[in-house]
Each structure stands twice: as C-alpha cells, then as structure tokens.
C-alpha cells in the first residue's frame, strides 16, 4: 500500500498540514503536495477508471504526461473535469472526485467491458451495429453516446465564478522550460544583454535534476539551481515566470503562455489564468524528456509506474508506492530508482534488465547494495487487478514462459526516454530518428522558420536529445548563445558548467516484453492507458491495412486521449512499424498540435465576458432611451431603440402608436447611427460619380440627392442621401451598418485604384447626434425653437441649411424616409441630448413621440421605400427594385456597371419589386415564397417570388408587404399563393409598392 515515509519530501513542508476531500472522504496532506502525492500518502493508489474498459487505474507518472489520474475538481461554479492529480497543487479544502465509473470507483458496472474486451477490439464499432438500421438509431448509438466522456459535465447553468485576462509581451529570447537546461540557456542568452523571458510550467525550478542528483560546478545540483535562479532574478533583462506553460508555438514567433495564477490558491482575488501572447524573436524549447513505459502484460495495473515517477514521489514528496518494488528496465536510468528506494529503506526484490549484459556503473552500484539483478529477463505478466500483487518473470528473448514469480506491491518500469518535441514541432519543426537512443529528436536542419525565412526555434538539453546532465548543460549553453546571436546580440563566452561524466551502458530498444509475447499477453499489454489501446490493437490495425500512422492512430484512438499520447505515441509507433516490417522513421509520427497540455477555455476568452464581451456602441441619446422604456434592437454593434414601450402597452401596440403619431402629428427619431462621410477635393465629384449609380457631380450646393451604391459585382450594397456642402465638398449619408464599411470602400478605391485623384474623405458619423423631426407638425416645432427659416420656400424638400436652431449649432436636412414632412437635424454629439430633450419638451403640445426602428420600418414600407438588408440581400441589383431612375444613363462607368451587363443580370426573368396585399388583409409571413406550378429536375417546387419585408400597417390597418416577383410589375392585380410555415398558402394580390400618398404630397408641404 502506498504511504507517507517517515522522512523526506524536498518539495513538502510537513509542518503545514492541509485537509482535502476525495470521493467524499476526508484526507490530509501537506503543503507542497500534489493531489496525486497526497492521495498516495493516504493509501489511495486507485484514482480512476479507463475510458473504454473501465479498468482500475492509479497514476503511472508524476507530471503533465499522466493519462490515468484525472479527477473532477472543485464544485459548483468552480467545478472542473479532467484535472490531472499529478499536476494539481494541493490546497486546504480541495474537493475532488474520481471519474468514469458507476456507482463507485471501487465497484464499477462499466468494468464488465474489461471482460468483454476480447469482443471490443480496435474499431469494433465500425464493424458492428450496422443491422438493423433502426436499432443503431434508437439503441446502439444512444448507448454509445451515454457511455462517452470521462469527467462529469459542469452543471448546465454554470456561470464561471473565475475571471481571466490576456497579456501581450515581446522578447528577444523566450525560453520554455525551467529545468537545468532552460536555466542555463536563459543565463547564457541573458549574459549577451538580450531580453529574456523564461517560463516554467511547474511551481518549482530545476526540473527533475534534483531528484536524479549529481553535481554541477562542484556543488549539488539543487544548490546550482538555486544560485542560477538567483543570478537570473538579479538581471534586469530577464523575466522568470513559474506556473506558466508554453502552450503553443505559432507562426512568426507567436507563443501562448498559460499562467495559472490562483489554481493553487483559489481564494486569492484576481484572474485565475492569464494567457500570455508572446512575440519572440527566438524560442528555446528546453522542455525536457519523458520516460516511456514498457509494453508487458498487466502494465496498466495500479502500482505499475514509470521508474522516474516512483523516484519523484519518494524524493519530492516523501511518498512510497509500495514496500516491495520490482524494477524493470532496458536502460541504466531505472537503476537510480532502485538505489533511491534502497536508500530510503524500501525493498527492491529484483531489478529485471532486458539487456543480456545488463547496465554500467549504476548496475554495479545497485549490486554492491545487494540488490538482485536479472539480465536478459522480462516481465511476462503483472498479477493483481486493483493493485499489483506479484510479477511473473520470463526471458526477454522468449514467448513468456514463466521462470519465477516474485511477490511485490509496486513495479517501476523504464523503456527509455523520449525528448519532448511538441513545441519544436507545433510550427513545422521536423524530427529525425536517433537509432542509438531509440527516440525522435529535433532535426536542426529542418527547423520551423519565421517571417524572415530563418529558423526561430532552438531545442535545448534533453528536449534536443541530450539526456546526460553534462551533455544537457553543454547543449543548453550552445542553444542560449545561438538564440542570443540570432536575436542580434553578442553572446559572452562564459565557462561551461562543470559536470563529472557518468558512464552509462547503452539502452536496448524494447517495444514488447517478452519480444515474442503470445497474443494473450499482447492483448493485455497497454500502449495508451486512458483510451485502452493495447499492442494487439495496433497490430490489428496494421493487419487490416490501416498502415499510415494517422490511420492506425484514428482507427485505434491511440494518442487521442487527454494526454495526447505523451506516453503512448512512440511505443505505438514502434509497434506499428514492427507489425509492418518497416523502419520506425519511414512510418513517421503523427502531427503535434497545440496546446502542449489542455488550457482553459476561460483563459482563451480572457477578459471578454459580461459587459466587455463585445463593444456596444451607444448614441449620445442612449441614456435617455434607457430611461424611457426602450426595447433595444442590436444593429451591428449599435443599440437602436426598437420601440419605446409605455406602461400597460404591448410592444406591438407601442409600435402602432409611434407610427400613428408620426403620421398624424409629430414623431422624433434618433438617427445618429446613420453614417456621415465628408468627401472633399478637386476630384471629389468625379469620385462620387464612380461610387454612386447616379450623378453626384452635378448636385448643386445646398441640395440633397438620394444615391445608390453597388459593389463591383453589381449588387446593391448601400444607399443614402448625399448633400453638396460646398464647391469641392460633399457629405455622404450611409446606412447604420454602412458607415465604416462605406468609408473603407471609399479609401480602398482611392488608395488602390485611383490614387492619382485628389480626394480626401473623413468619417464624421459620431461627431453629430442626428434627430429626425417627422410629421405634419414638424415645421411648427422647429419654428417654435426658432433661429432658422425652415419654411417651404427657404428650405424646400431635398435641401439643407446650416444655422442656429433654438441656440444649437445645427445642420438641417430636409429629407424624408417616412413620406411625412421631415427634418433631420445634425447637432454636435455633446449637445445631442440637450437638443433631443428640448425637442421632446417643446413638442409636447403636438404630442412629440419618440419612435424606434420598427416604426421607422413601417413608415418607410407604407411609402414603398426600400431598406438595405430587407429588399437587398447581396443578390439584388438596383434594376430589380425598380430603381432604374437612380441609375445614370449618361455615365460611361460606375462601380458595378460592367457587372450589371452580364447575361444573368440583364435576364428579363429576374424577379422585380412589387407591393403585396393579402386578400384577407392578414400579414404575410417573413420570407414567404410565391409558389408556381410543377417541380424542377430535383423535385423541388417551382417558385415565382418572395416576400422581402412585411408589416401590419396601422395607417391602413391591414397587412402590407414588398416582394420580388417574376414579371411582377406587369402583373398588377394578379393573385399569387404565398407559403405559410404550417404548409398552407395565402392568396396575395400584386399591387403598387407605394401604399400611401403616391404623389408625395405629404412630404412636400
């Protein structure tokens, strides 16, 4: 049983006890524990169940590569599934629960799958559940879905209680990984004067070197690390950040840094995670190496761990996995675990070394300690289900005949080490196969390249395949100075850290144990622990022709678990290449994708939540609207009043009231969002003539003209009133959505096509609050404010004037989008509210009524005015809308003219704009289609028109609509059938689109 040793634990402080709960049970740990070490200290070896077979699982590792020990962490709005216990720092009051079992971790119904495993090989579901079809739909698939997933889903109504933020930073050299290699590389680079940023994913510096021991520069490694960190902290050009992981490397030196600020202390105020967006000229990946498991039967039983992990738990946390630990290895490093355990008074009954001639100095040291070493041997099988009880030993060369059974309660396995090449590979760095060490290492000749085409990632230390401490530090020094040089700095030649060489015997690649293991053993030899992929599964994939490494991965799900194959990929790859009889490098690896380990969605969104999720654009009158019962309508990022609803009024009633007020007396509209763009210069007229379909250069100063804008593809993109301000200056009004778009459109043509034309434009949309005063009494109100002559004679329809109205500096545009007598008043935004309140107050005697966008829509629809976005949808040309009058015949060219000459654009059968009236007076549904007889070759019903906008007209007290209809203008009075979503149709008459005051008498008074 795992337990806390009497002494030891370099990272822990036993004087600081902590309470936590696991599966409802109260437990104790100490400061510095990870959740995994604390659970082990409490004898809790079993921490979860595997994905497919629900097999009992304990931790196999001690770091971020852990596939098994995943827990549901926290509660309520701070709940988080799939947290790795091995990297979760313990804190007082932590609450965790194990995953993927029912009803309990100890007894799990799903474990039946492990007994059925023979019937559930890789890809079984592709071959099953095919017949009969209904069963798949109603039984199999729902069942598969229910058994999906690992961690519990957060409650449906969960709203994250934590906050997050982003941070942008730039640096010359970014070092990822704070082990000895990272520290040495950072120090070397920093000495050149380069700006250096050093990130370490854990809370501690130095990586695993302190565990492995050894001396640097004549002092214990741990001391050297302390001194080096101090030296770095003292340098002004260096920034160090622990608990910050290099999550992903992207093009042009962009790196994500994932800083966990409060995960280890949830009560601390401030953001939980900070996502750093780093731009680095050079990136040093000092991400270390990960030990590989060995593939033998039962290598997934709780108690079988990586040799390095068992060492970590003892040295870092003072925790032992068991009393009798069998070590099994194909290299020298695992002997350190045996020696370490022995040194802590724990029993190592045997070291099983697959190599015929065993190891080097470390073996001699172990033997000298009296530890039994078996050479050329292997584990045939691990006994035990919920925990290790014994191992059966056999010859590595054979098929698994048992020579001896050794009782034990833990197994330390080592299949050699693999450099962590993820960050090197994210942006295209290639790998080469190292035969001697049996691992992939970065191929420096095929590094990822940046904007300048030069390499920008440099691997260092064991991440670069230099596993021995001496080589690690030497390589890190080189990496540090190359990075500094590449970043334009002059590295100072410092002295190499002195490390005594350690003679180690070569490792022996062992991909299966024993090498001739029979199928029974192979189907119990795990490659991917979380997803339950075994040696036999990969071999089956190869047998069935899933030969590409990507096919094998996807067919078996190898490496697709939450650890993304950190432990399984190389073993799986080697198994595949053996099955195919091909060399490992020719099979290749799967693609490494960010992030290195999973990062919170919250951190990706950063601060953008709640009121700063997205910008809301407010007009100067926003506050007034808020205070007067507004119902908002989002229009792009703007908020516009949809209607001002009064007490005991439905929205529909308020809209009708607003329409009637504008028609019968006086309405006020906040039109501030309409785009306003000043266009000035000797060539401004020529330019506007190209921009609009009609002629603007001929517009007299002081007058207004309605204009249409098309894109180069001929489609109508915007409309609005243009006013001639002076000889060389025009003011172009655009739609609300159009201001930025149209301004950009103008700049694009001026900068990239007609750059020799002398025109400047400026977007002055927000300089003004614009208020439409609409209705028969509009003029009376303006006269009441006084200061300007707004009479029909002085300011007729489609003219504008500047002046002072009731003390306000204004421009008044005599234009109408309602068909009523109407003035649009532009006033500096900072006086907008004052003017609005003034108009509202002074207009009281005519019942001045603020109205919103829905009333605006109805008012314009009653007049048959088109609305960009309703009558147009990006497929409509002005000719479809009966706007031919607004297309200049005189002009040789305008944007969109050529496009409108294409055969489909001049096709007489294009649908044309008409008015529509249901025979029964009801309101046509939005988007309704006019059906025609018969169906097309694909069996789709023919159509002959569609509704573009439809409303209830309070003025006419009936439904009115506009639509595009085949030959519409020639079919006045004809009745068509329009669709309803209930499957029936409505008889609808084609009428003139102008429902009200066709002569325009009301607006011209």
């Amino acid at each position: 049983m795992s337990t806390r040793l009497a002494t030891g634990g370099r990272l822990t402080d036993r004087t600081k006890q902590m309470k936590f709960r696991f599966n409802g049970q109260q437990m104790r740990g100490v400061e510095g524990d990870t959740l995994a070490s604390a659970l082990l200290a409490n004898g809790q070896l079993m921490m979860g169940r595997s994905f497919k077979y629900h097999r009992p699982r304990g931790p196999v590792a001690s770091g971020s590569e852990e596939p098994n020990a995943l827990v549901n962490l926290g509660q309520g709005a701070r709940f988080e599934p799939n947290q790795r216990a091995t990297t979760t720092e313990l804190f007082d009051g932590l609450v965790a629960a194990s995953q993927n079992h029912w009803p309990s971790l100890q007894f799990d119904v799903g474990a039946i799958n492990t007994h059925l495993s023979r019937f559930l090989p890789a890809g079984f579901y592709y071959k099953m559940f095919i017949h009969p079809r209904p069963l798949w739909k109603h039984v199999y698939e729902p069942f598969i879905r229910r058994s999906a997933g690992l961690g519990a889903a957060p409650d449906a109504e969960t709203v994250d209680a934590d906050t997050y933020e982003h941070f942008y930073t730039f640096t010359d050299v970014l070092v990822l990984g704070g082990g000895v290699a990272g520290l040495q590389a950072a120090l070397t680079a920093a000495r050149s004067g380069a700006q250096v940023l050093l990130l370490e994913q854990n809370a501690h510096w130095g990586g695993r070197t302190p565990v492995d021991g050894g001396e640097i520069d004549g002092k214990p490694a741990e001391q050297w690390i302390k001194d080096t960190v101090q030296a770095l902290e003292a340098m002004g050009n260096v920034t160090l950040r622990s608990r910050t992981m290099g999550a992903g490397v992207y093009d042009h030196g962009y790196v994500l840094g994932y800083e966990r600020l409060t995960d280890h202390a949830p009560e601390t105020p401030g953001p939980r995670h900070r996502l750093w967006r780093i731009r680095a000229q050079q990136i040093v990946t000092a991400t270390g190496a990960i030990e590989r498991p060995l593939s033998f039967a039962g290598n997934d039983v709780p108690g079988v761990l990586l040799a390095s992990a068992i060492r970590d738990y003892v040295v870092n946390y003072g925790v032992s996995i068991g009393d009798r630990t069998v070590v099994v290895t194909n290299n020298d490093d695992a002997y350190r675990t045996a020696i370490c355990l022995h040194g802590h008074g724990l029993n190592v009954p045997v070291i099983i070394d697959a190599r015929m001639q065993g190891g080097g100095a470390l073996m001699a040291q172990a033997e000298a300690l009296g530890i039994r070493v078996l050479k050329g041997k292997a584990i045939a099988k691990v006994k035990g289900t919920r925990k290790v009880t014994a191992v059966e030993i056999c010859d590595q060369a054979g098929e698994g005949a048992v020579l001896e059974t050794i009782p034990c309660d833990a197994v330390a396995m080592s299949g050699g080490w693999s450099p962590v090449v993820h960050l090197w590979s994210h942006c295209g760095g290639k790998l080469s196969w190292d035969e001697g060490n049996a691992f992939f290492r970065p191929d420096l000749s095929r590094a990822p390249t940046s904007h300048d085409g030069a390499p920008f990632v440099i691997p260092a230390g064991s991440a670069n395949g230099y596993i021995q401490l001496k080589d690690t530090l030497a390589d890190a020094t080189t990496a540090g100075s190359s990075a500094a040089t590449a970043a334009g700095h002059q590295p100072k030649v410092g002295t190499l850290p002195q490390v005594a060489p350690r003679e180690e015997a070569a490792m022996l690649p062992v991909w299966l144990m024993p090498q001739g293991a029979n199928v029974k053993l192979r189907s119990k030899a795990w490659l991917d622990f979380q997803n339950d992929v075994k040696v036999s599964d990969i071999q089956l994939a190869a047998q069935e022709g899933y030969e590409s490494v990507e096919h094998a991965k996807r067919y078996t799900t190898l490496g697709m678990a939450t650890d993304q194959g950190k432990l399984s990929n190389i073993n799986g790859l080697a198994t595949l290449s053996a099955a195919l009889g091909e060399a490992i490098p020719s099979v290749g690896t799967t693609t490494f994708r960010p992030p290195y380990t999973p990062i919170s969605m919250g951190s990706i969104a950063g601060q953008a939540r709640g009121d700063i999720f997205q910008p809301v654009r407010e007009t100067p009158l926003h506050g007034w609207h808020e205070a007067h019962g507004v119902h908002w309508e989002p229009v792009g990022q703007w908020r516009r009043p949809y209607s001002f609803v009064q007490q005991d009024e439905t929205v529909e009633q308020s809209v009708n009231r607003e329409v009637k007020a504008a028609r019968d007396s006086l309405g006020l509209l906040d039109a501030s969002t309409l785009g306003k763009i000043v266009v000035k210069g000797p060539d401004a007229g020529k330019f506007l003539d190209m921009l609009y379909t009609n002629m603007m250069s001929t517009l007299p100063v002081g007058k207004c003209r309605y204009g249409l804008m098309c894109n180069e593809n001929g489609f109508l993109m915007d409309d609005g009133v243009v006013a001639r301000m002076s000889d060389d200056t025009w003011l172009c009004h655009t739609t609300t959505g159009g201001a930025e778009r149209i301004h950009a459109h103008m700049e694009e043509w001026l900068q990239t096509e007609w750059w020799d034309w002398q025109v400047y434009c400026a977007n002055v949309t927000e300089q003004y609050a614009q208020i439409a005063v609409v209705g028969p009494n509009a003029r009376k109100l303006l006269e009441k404010l006084g200061g300007m002559d707004v009479s029909r004679e002085t300011l007729p329809f489609m003219q504008w004037a500047a002046g002072t109205l009731g003390g306000f500096p204004v421009r008044i545009f005599r234009i109408s989008f309602s068909g009523e007598l109407s003035y649009e008043i532009a006033v500096p935004a900072s006086q907008g509210l004052a003017l609005w309140e003034r108009l509202h107050a002074e207009g009281a005697e005519w019942n001045a009524t603020p109205y919103g966008t829905e009333a605006l829509h109805i008012l314009r629809a009653e007049k048959g005015f088109i609305m960009i976005g309703d009558e147009t949808d990006g497929t409509v040309i002005p000719q479809d809308l009966g706007l031919g009058w607004a297309i200049s015949k005189k002009k040789a060219d305008y944007i969109g003219k050529r496009a409108q000459a294409r055969s489909h654009m001049t096709d007489p059968t294009r649908w044309q704009l008409v008015g529509l009236e249901t025979v029964d007076g009801s309101v046509l549904p939005d988007g309704a289609l006019a059906v025609a007889s018969g169906t097309n070759a694909n069996g789709q019903r023919h159509t002959q028109g569609r509704v573009t906008s439809t409303y209830h007209s309070p003025t006419l007290n009936r439904g009115i609509a506009m639509g595009l209809v085949l030959n519409g203008p020639d079919r006045m009075g004809e009745v068509l059938e329009f669709t309803k979503l209930d499957g029936t149709t409505i008889p609808t008459k084609i009428v003139n689109a102008v429902f009200l005051d066709p002569e325009g008498e009301k607006q011209n008074v």
Partner: protein, 188 residues
C-alpha cells in the same frame, strides 16, 4: 446654446492605474500630404507647433499635433477653440489639397496615469509596451481588445487613449477591468 457634455462626463477609476475620461477636447482631423511644404507650413503656422515625425506627437502650450498617417494628423486643442481653428486652417490651407474637420465630439480621450500604465495597456493592445520600445512622445494606432484606438505616451506615467465616442463605455470598462487592483504583471 447648451453646455456640451463629454461621453462619460469625466468618469474615473482607481486601480493599478488611475483611469480618467479626460472630458471634452478640441480635436481636428487633418488630411493632407505631410511632404507638401505648403500643407506643413499652413498647419505649423496655425497650430503653433512643428510637424511631428512618424508616429510622434509634438506639443506646445495646449496644442498637440499627433501623427496619424503620412497624410493624416490629429490636432488637439481646447474644445472651445476647435471650430475657430478649423476655419483658420481652412483659410491658411487655401488651395492646397487638404481637409480639416472638427471631430471633437466624434472621439473621446482617456488619461491613464500611474506606475503600472504599461501593464494595463499591454493587457489590451498587441503592442510592445516595454520602456525601450515605447517611449514618451510616441503614439501608436492599434486596437484595444476589440476596438480601434490611438495611444500616446505623454510621459512614463501618463498615457492618453483616444477612441470613438460610441465605444467610450466599452473602453472605460476595459481599462478599469485591466486595472483591477492586485493584477500587476510586473515585467516592465
């Protein structure tokens, strides 16, 4: 004539830095070719300060000229003088191809003061805020989170941020959030 009101009426917040809506400023957008001597002369005469170099700001008295692009400047002056200054500029520019428009009400100015202003800005804008890279007197047009803005470093502890008026509430909320007490990053 009523009293003009700025977008947020001088709202303020204290945190990592002091965030202040700076009230009404006279702002004039000037379009014209900086390289054109007549343009430069006219502008310098009226503004009373020299033409700024690329991405720099030149200030004198209560007037500042901000470099916005090779053919655009933003002239800052007292709010009350904006209209008159536009008239003067238009006269001074005469036949020179140029454009001068009053945008005082179209934009809003925020002032950020304190020792951690670089932290606050670097949380929102993809700009190198290290003292070596971004020095007093420099201006950078960029984005703050999801809106366009210009940031001008007046001195090491004062920055001015200019954005469109309609997004003033968003910008203020952004800056306050980024300036939440206790969230200094501490790398500058």
């Amino acid at each position: 004539m009523s009293e003009p009101v700025s977008a947020l009426n001088a709202a303020a917040f204290d945190g990592l830095a002091h965030v202040q809506e700076a009230g009404l400023h006279g702002m004039i957008t000037l379009r014209g070719d900086h390289a054109d001597a007549d343009f430069a002369q006219a502008v310098a005469d009226v503004a009373g300060v020299a033409m700024p170099d690329q991405r720099e700001v030149v200030s004198g008295g209560d007037t500042s000229l901000i470099w916005m692009s090779p053919d655009e400047l933003l002239l800052l002056c007292p709010y009350a003088e904006a209209g008159e200054t536009v008239t003067k500029l238009t006269e001074a520019l005469g036949d020179t191809h140029a454009l001068a428009v009053d945008v005082s009400d179209a934009r809003v100015v925020f002032t950020l003061t304190g020792t951690h202003i670089r932290d606050v800005i670097a949380k929102l804008a993809p700009v190198d805020m290290s003292p070596a890279a971004f020095r007093p007197g420099m201006v950078r047009r960029t984005r703050f989170a999801q809106v366009a803005a210009a940031v001008w470093l007046r001195d090491d502890e004062t920055a001015q941020i200019i954005c469109f008026r309609s997004v003033a509430p968003y910008m203020f909320a952004l800056l306050c959030n980024a300036a939440t007490p206790g969230t200094e990053v501490g790398i500058f």
